[in-house]
Symmetry: C2
Subunit: 395 residues, 2 copies
């Protein structure tokens, strides 16, 4: 029995990631592989670092792509910053805050869970209260863009608190980087990690990662060795630093080609234009979805433009509709995770996925399915409402 060639079906990716990948990125990725110690490859890594610094808005020397997905970036942040017995204050208002707690505990850290309802941001005053009562805290870990709820966590006030209490600020920017400002230096973030398959619109497989000099000094002062050899940033740094370039592990060469090209696309568009695009398309989508009776889960002013999490009324069999959307229209959207399973849809408008054409195509498909299901009588309302947003933006 011989295995046949795999031809992926045609899909429009409007879920919580991966997002659509630009053909230029696919082409760059398929260039011939060269060696991970080839001078031409090392020069290419310099470009990736420089482009990542621009995207993170940081001058951090140590800005790299970790050889694993976003979750490896999270683990790298925690296992390098936290030694056994040290405390991390974790904001928990969704799946990824919960995961930060688990990763902290697995590396021998003590996690203080500061919870907020799923869909609400963590209140800086609550952070301050915990910090006043708790002993010394090594780090505060916050999810800027909670992919499970669509909630946008403001960071400025918490960054101030971190500085006052001599704690490192670790920020999960998996879903935010390239879609909303991350501004590592201006916001005062010490360690920030992301993923390639969200607003950078690159295939999944790498975790962009940056550490401030302050955090790097703390990592260097550790009394214990990092529990992970693969994710030990002191060792990884020796490969990514010009002048040393000591072999650590074989870099994922083709993925780095892809990331470089994806970051070039970010550079060409410019961050302000990119953020405005994400904002506009989310606004149009949410306006259309309201016409279908699907309100956003996150609080007003705390909604992520790239991850639109909306509540689905009980009357609608959400999994069935999602399956029809995939099988009949080729459109992927996401369901809920954990306690939100069966209750929400997570619609991603990330990077290349965030376009007017995609918003209108999705709304039109949903209108057809909702009319078929008897949950909507008048066609055209959702598409019309979204179109008016676009007309107003581009008169």
């Amino acid at each position: 029995m011989v295995t046949r060639e795999f031809i992926p079906p045609r899909r429009l990716l409007l879920g919580p990631g991966p997002s659509q990948v630009h053909p230029r990125v696919l082409r760059a990725m398929s260039a011939p592989v060269i060696g991970h110690l080839d001078p031409a490859f090392l020069a290419m890594m310099n470009d990736v670092q420089s482009l990542l610094r621009n995207t993170f808005q940081t001058g951090n020397r140590f800005t790299i792509a970790i050889s694993g997905t976003g979750s490896a970036g999270m683990e790298a942040a925690i296992v390098n910053a936290v030694e056994p017995g040290e405390t991390v204050l974790v904001g928990v208002n969704g799946i990824f805050g919960t995961r930060l707690v688990e990763v902290t505990e697995r590396c021998g850290g003590k996690a203080i869970r500061l919870e907020a309802p799923w869909g609400s941001a963590i209140d800086p005053q609550a952070v301050e209260q915990v910090l006043r009562r708790s002993g010394p805290v090594k780090a505060i870990a916050m999810v800027q863009a909670e992919t499970s709820t669509g909630c946008w966590q403001p960071l400025e006030a918490i960054a101030q608190l971190a500085k006052q209490h001599d704690a490192l600020l670790i920020v999960d920017a998996v879903t935010s980087l390239g879609g909303i400002p991350v501004d590592v230096d201006a916001a005062g973030i010490d360690i920030c990690y992301s993923a390639t398959q969200k607003c950078l619109s690159c295939p999944p497989g790498l975790a962009p990662f940056t550490i401030s000099e302050r955090a790097l000094a703390a990592v260097t002062r550790r009394r214990t060795r990092c529990q992970s050899w693969y994710l030990d940033m002191k060792l990884v740094a020796e490969y990514w630093t010009e002048g040393t370039r000591t072999y650590h592990h074989t870099a994922p060469i083709s993925m780095l080609y892809a990331l470089r090209e994806a970051l070039r696309l970010v550079e060409e568009e410019g961050l302000p234009a990119r953020f405005a695009r994400h904002h506009l398309n989310s606004n149009a989508l949410l306006t259309g979805l309201l016409e279908l009776g699907l309100p956003p889960l996150a609080q007003p002013g705390q909604r992520l433009p790239m991850l639109n999490c909306v509540t689905v009324p009980d009357v609608i069999p959400e999994a069935e509709v999602r399956a029809r959307l995939l099988n009949r229209y080729g459109i992927e959207i996401g369901g809920g995770l954990g306690p939100l399973k069966g209750k929400v849809w997570r619609i991603g408008l990330m990077g290349e996925s965030s376009t007017e054409a995609h918003v209108l195509r999705l709304l039109n498909a949903l209108e057809e399915l909702f009319i078929e299901g008897g949950w909507l009588t008048t066609p055209g309302l959702a598409v019309g409402a979204a179109s008016r947003i676009y007309s107003r933006a581009n008169p």
Copy 2:
């Protein structure tokens, strides 16, 4: 300042990995990305598992590709099998045995180093002696193909000892899989990991990984949680198992497309033909290199056909010659690591890199450089000797 497109230089990869990648693999990798929970993608993962089982020669249900490079595979093997305080007997005769010791110690394990000279295999009798004297040993870890020396480690007798002493046998097959028999089931290997960029001729980024039912039961019986969340095989298994498919982390989709196509090429060639090809080309290369005064480092009968590590005489400025080979001929070969730095060349004939044309091209280039350097007077001897091996094999 705008970053320009990256066009990799033309290279022939004859180093210790990455190896040449077949155009079919590059094309498969550049197919449009689909979602990691898309039914079409999950079906593709089933194919990857089934093709990996064939390549590992195992029936192990738990046979997957880890979302990281070969070193992540090593770390996954150790952190899942070993609990803090437990002992691992590690065969150390090169860089990768040394790394196994370090990974073991970082996860709280106790490593017993059983050393052999670099280039010599570990003697099963020495293993037995250690086992007789030591307390209980949780695992024996061996590097089947030591990429730093080109030494081929026989496993059968050690596998017997592992069974007798109720220890798990962990095998590093990073460089061997697809080039020499790994035979997980027949050899009695409990945990085996590899990498994609060696004899599978796929870009780097994934670690093929397989666990026997016996080892899986031991992992499930752990008293402590695995220190790594990212590499916790109990969690990863829930995503890779049909029926559960619980989201753990976003799979590196494009890399899995690539691996599937690379494994299809292995399937088409067939393992016996593939092993014979690796053997023949290594034989021809080593015969030619002897004519240049470059003898193999590893002992006779213990030489890996895909990683030809040869001693370079002191008179030859090895780094300079390697640089000329790269810059003038576009051919990459590897230098020595650790104590072998400056003393050996590591010439990889892995997967797509292992062809008659590549062997002759390299030998011809070396002859030219050696004549230029004054270390050789008569041209054609190396190429001629290799050619005679090919004529004899294909009369």
